[in-house]
């Protein structure tokens, strides 16, 4: 099953690579949000403290676009159905797609973070490793439920509105933890909260990555 998961992951990344306009579109979208909030902000002093939160708002909004696109390619020629009928385990399909979505978001996150240091005047008082951990866990927390619900919504009507409505409330605990965690890494962590935010993120991911894989096949199939 691991080999098939990797094969699906390779396929996702290959499709993404062939049409690089998509990932750069995501980056610019996230960047636009980050910039707009900066312009709308009343004072520069506040900006630095808000950097962590703004990063995650941008990533959250970018994630729905990324998920919509990821499933749009599948629906173009019905490849999703083709995958379902192929000798490939539906859990492999899920994990391959979810990993790909996570990686793509992570690339966007890594590209935005320097902007925060440059334009928001954010500091790096904590450890870079911890920051990376928050980025990875946060993107993963968006990737798993996003792939599951993306699969559902791609088949339902009114999909472009439905995905954010379904996904956002569900991932709020994780985005909150990621935002808080990123902020304490940047601003300093006098009360040692970083660990508990990371723990929440890990628990969220453990739950969603295990359960979503179980349900993915069922939500794609005809009842």
């Amino acid at each position: 099953m691991i080999r098939q998961t990797l094969a699906v992951l390779r396929k996702e990344l290959l499709v993404e690579w062939r049409d690089r306009s998509r990932i750069s579109g995501l980056f610019f979208f996230a960047m636009a949000i980050v910039l707009l909030v900066a312009f709308a902000s009343p004072s520069e002093a506040i900006l630095a403290r808000q950097a962590g939160g703004i990063l995650w708002i941008g990533l959250l909004l970018a994630s729905t676009r990324s998920l919509d696109q990821s499933f749009a390619t599948e629906m173009e020629h019905g490849a999703l159905e083709g995958l379902l009928l192929w000798p490939v385990d539906s859990r492999s399909i899920f994990y391959g797609k979810a990993l790909a979505n996570t990686l793509i978001l992570l690339c966007v996150a890594l590209a935005i973070v320097p902007l925060l240091f440059g334009m928001y005047g954010a500091q790096m008082r904590g450890s870079p490793t911890l920051l990376l951990a928050f980025l990875v866990m946060g993107c993963a927390a968006l990737g798993a439920p996003g792939t599951l619900f993306g699969g559902i919504v791609a088949q339902a009507r009114g999909s472009s509105v439905l995905l954010p409505l379904l996904l956002f409330p569900l991932v709020v605990p994780a985005v909150l933890a990621a935002a808080k965690g990123t902020t304490v890494v940047m601003e300093g962590d006098p009360m040692g909260q970083g660990g508990s935010w990371l723990a929440l993120l890990v628990a969220f991911n453990a739950l969603h990555w295990s359960l979503s894989g179980l349900f993915f096949g069922r939500v794609l199939e005809d009842g």
């Binding site: 379904l166 569900l170 349900f215």
Partner: protein, 227 residues
């Protein structure tokens, strides 16, 4: 159509009577709260609503799990009815909380962990309702909303524990022996009355879901054509 009165309406009637009695008792009979005075009387409504909304969503979660394991449509109707009633309760909870907050904390709203998690819980289940209305195929609707409900349920323990996990303005859960006897009686009376009313709502809504499903039922098979 049967002319007999359905059991849930009798239960509901008892519940409504109980609530009228309970509200009267809560407003005029029970002693005022030691620290909050008369404002504290909202406790008799707010706390049952809080507990029952989470309980309602837990029933949704169990029904959803049941559907995914057995594919019985009656469980999907239960998901539909309990989610809707749960959303109604959650909305009421936030309104009641707001009404209580104004005189106590001085604000209608604050960014407090309990309030945030309760709002997120409400929004998650609203999302489940929207997913249901966007799906026309009954089997897919049942499968998808059951999966969504299970994930949405995860927010229930988070909301419940939020006052303990994060420093919150909201009170932590009060132990039973901290309340005086008259207050406890009024509280329980309201709780039981509310449970009866909710059972009435859920049963009634379940029947509506069932009729709607039966109305969608397929045509009979066409007559055989012999080749």
């Amino acid at each position: 159509m049967s002319r007999r009165i359905k059991w849930e309406h009798i239960v509901g009637l008892l519940g409504v009577l109980g609530m009228i009695g309970g509200h009267y008792a809560g407003l005029f009979v029970a002693p005022p709260e030691r620290m909050m005075g008369d404002v504290g009387r909202i406790f008799y409504v707010h706390v049952p609503v809080a507990i029952l909304s989470m309980l309602m969503f837990s029933v949704s979660g169990l029904a959803a799990l049941g559907y995914l394991m057995t594919s019985r449509m009656s469980l999907d109707w239960l998901v539909e009815s309990t989610v809707e009633v749960g959303v109604m309760l959650s909305t009421l909870l936030l309104i009641l909380g707001s009404v209580w907050a104004r005189p106590t904390w001085g604000v209608w709203w604050t960014w407090d962990p309990r309030l945030i998690t309760a709002t997120v819980l409400l929004l998650t289940f609203v999302g489940v309702m929207l997913l249901r209305s966007a799906t026309t195929n009954p089997e897919k609707r049942a499968t998808w909303s059951s999966v969504a409900t299970l994930f949405a349920w995860v927010n229930v323990p988070i909301t419940y524990k939020s006052v303990q996990w994060w420093r919150s303005l909201h009170q932590i859960q009060t132990p039973q022996d901290a309340i005086s006897d008259p207050m406890r009686i009024v509280y329980h009376e309201n709780m039981i009355a509310m449970i009866l009313v909710l059972v009435w709502f859920v049963a009634w809504r379940w029947r509506i879901a069932k009729s709607a499903a039966l109305a969608e039922a397929p045509e009979p098979l066409p007559e055989a054509v012999n080749p």
